[in-house]
Symmetry: C2
Subunit: 427 residues, 2 copies
């Protein structure tokens, strides 16, 4: 057949014959993490869907939603500080029986090549399914991490960071082991669901015989443009979520979120640790509360996220303020009181979640909540102390249930010509 | 607590105190169904998120993605001819034991009020969850239909149209009865996932004691702006899907898609029939085929949707053309040959689907495919004859599996002051 413009296991066809004009899609700026007032960061120059989309002659150029592009190469991996994306997939794999360090290295090399190409809006290296064809990169990010089990199976247990030691048990855990942990983790985010799905299938295809799917979850956030820019995101409880997230402009941001360049182990330089929790929200119960009761649980107003002692989302929270009866205005068990970083030894983590909704359980309650993902230089100073405090008295705990948990070491970004994890696997 | 700006069972608070400026968001035009070259239609004037979003002072105005608004009132219900939305929920309910015509009428009245308000970007009438707060209408549509069982339970069996008679069995069916049929159907679509989820919860809350959830499915399409305007959508097989969809500018569009104003039964005037099929795609098998083999199955090129006998998506298909060996260029069992309307007595239906992906089955294969929704004036002249032909020899059938099926009578749009279905329930 004459038409051969779709690549089919032929890397030489990576450029489609009719690249889309790049005019008008220069440097674009995207909101960072949806936090109010945060400055945008440059995700990168995106030349439309150049190299991929064979757009018809009459097509209008992509908007910035489609043409925005995150960079694969860099000091850190993508998918940590970029703005929340409208669609996400989390996937954990276990190395297959018989697969060791060599197979893992080849897999990370394949995955890195695929991630670099898809994030640039190009076709996958082999047998591209065309699902993302016509679309721009749509802020696609693909992020890779290693779980505790990876190191034994690859003979690299001496390289396993102590930060990957299993998280402590929390009394509120109702963990499903089949949807927890995993040797390898891939986080995919994009502002278009088909671009994200396309990446998911390409990553799965790359896994081949080297790794088996362990679990996979789908999530979502606001579509850019549905709200004004710089609005803090809302979760499925209707609360603003992320008000106090650290911002890259904060002086200690890097120190709290990323392993230093001189950190231990050396292969984790500029990396980060991701705690992943599938947190189901008991929405039927939650929605029975009045707004006033919900605000007492959270410690902030539902309308604008302001602390109960202030008027604006960014107003400082006055933890000592009492009402006319002498009761604390922000209750002692309010979620926002317990999670305040300055009450947790300065612990800080960068939360970058997706909401999820997988329909309804057999009991008719929604299977919905938060794919909580938080990033930190050290889980023992980030997630763990906060969760310990929540475990002892968070008013929100009766409305949520932690159903799955995982912890991954996410190495620093790959330099050009390098693949993610190379410093571990060839170190 | 001083802040009361979130409505809580107080309809008088439907207007938030700080409506967003409406400037610059006048009449907007949206692509229709993603078909190449189709003219846009006016969805309506959207004044940002006026009446709902209490946007902070520094917020930028919404883009058209957020402020685009479909109209609830009109000749037809919304959600039929509007452009594909990025996120969708399909929900079927059964009337509760003891609920009859009176309870059904009250339910449709509640649902209509909720739909009108949410589609305008306002809060739900009661106990709004705030999940959609800050966002514009984001092209939200909410559509209501009646299934076969509705009429017996409400004593309205004499009003049941014969077009609602059960669909014939097809040999390719693998139907899950628990996810098929239903007394009542609600289709929700929006370009923002939280706006769509918010509508889903409001519709569920309205159901109250009158109706029980029977099944619910989630779907997605391209985010507007991820591709150029007027691109035909791709499905999860990577094929352009909808090339030959009828267009509202076609002279016989209304006659094929909508029941005439003088049609039978009278309460279905300007209504339509929706066939809903959950069609799983066997993607692992499909993706093993070469692109050339996939194109022979479909009869069109994967790159641009052109028929195998032409160069462009809209080129006519030459069904008689043979190759040098005397074989038809478009194989006899090619999907596009079998579904050509002019080979099916002029049958035509308007397909307006969502893709779905619910993770992976126990066998490791993706639980993904198409929430096929087609609209027609008469299923016996639309879906049924086409599916009968497909059933007898469609090359695509070995890569798909119909897992659920339903058929609903979708009455015409409500006039102002009226609720959807009022002409049936109070006729």
């Amino acid at each position: 057949m004459p038409d051969q413009s779709i690549p089919s296991a032929r890397p030489s066809t990576q450029s489609a014959p009719t690249p889309q004009p790049a005019g008008g899609h220069g440097i674009s700026r995207r909101a960072l993490l949806g936090t109010a007032g945060a400055t945008g960061i440059v995700l990168g120059a995106a030349g439309g869907a150049a190299g991929y989309a064979a757009a018809p002659a009459q097509a209008a150029p992509l908007t910035s939603l489609g043409s925005d592009r995150a960079m694969f190469h860099g000091k850190h991996q993508p998918g940590i500080t970029e703005g929340l994306q409208a669609r996400g997939h989390l996937i954990a794999f276990d190395l297959a029986a018989g697969a060791g360090r060599k197979e893992a290295a080849a897999l990370l090399r394949r995955w890195s090549t695929t991630a670099e190409r898809l994030m640039a809006g190009e076709a996958a290296p082999h047998d591209d399914t065309a699902v993302a064809r016509d679309a721009g990169p749509s802020s696609l990010t693909i992020t890779f991490g290693f779980g505790h089990g990876f190191f034994d199976r690859t003979g690299l247990d001496k390289q396993r960071p102590s930060a990957l030691d299993p998280l402590p048990d929390f009394s509120s855990d109702h963990l499903d082991k089949a949807r927890s942990d995993g040797d390898l983790w891939v986080q995919i985010g994009a502002n278009d669901a088909l671009v994200a799905f396309h990446a998911l299938r390409a990553i799965q295809q790359d896994a081949g015989e080297a790794a088996r799917l362990r679990w996979q979850m789908n999530g979502f956030n606001r579509t850019p443009g549905a709200t004004a820019h710089h609005m803090t995101a809302r979760n499925l409880m209707g609360q603003l979520d992320g008000t106090r997230n650290p911002k890259p402009i904060d002086p200690d941001f890097d120190r709290r979120i990323f392993v230093p360049a001189s950190g231990e182990p050396a292969w984790m330089a500029n990396g980060s640790y991701a705690v992943v929790r599938r947190i189901r929200m008991l929405l039927d119960d939650w929605e029975k509360l009045s707004v006033t009761a919900q605000e007492a649980v959270v410690g902030r107003r539902k309308s604008n996220g302001a602390p109960l002692t202030g008027d604006h989302e960014t107003s400082p929270m006055d933890l000592e303020k009492t009402d006319s009866k002498g009761e604390y205005v922000v209750p002692l068990n309010a979620h926002a009181r317990i999670t305040r970083p300055d009450r947790n030894g300065g612990a800080a983590m960068l939360r970058r979640p997706f909401s999820y909704h997988d329909g309804f359980g057999a009991d008719g309650t929604p299977d919905a909540g938060l794919l909580f993902i938080c990033w930190q230089a050290d889980p023992l100073r980030g997630f763990v102390p906060v969760q310990r405090k929540l475990d002892r008295g968070d008013a929100l705990s009766q409305f949520i249930r932690h159903e799955a948990s995982a912890l991954f070491a996410v190495p620093g970004g790959a330099a050009k010509g390098e693949y993610v994890g190379q410093r571990l696997l060839e170190g």
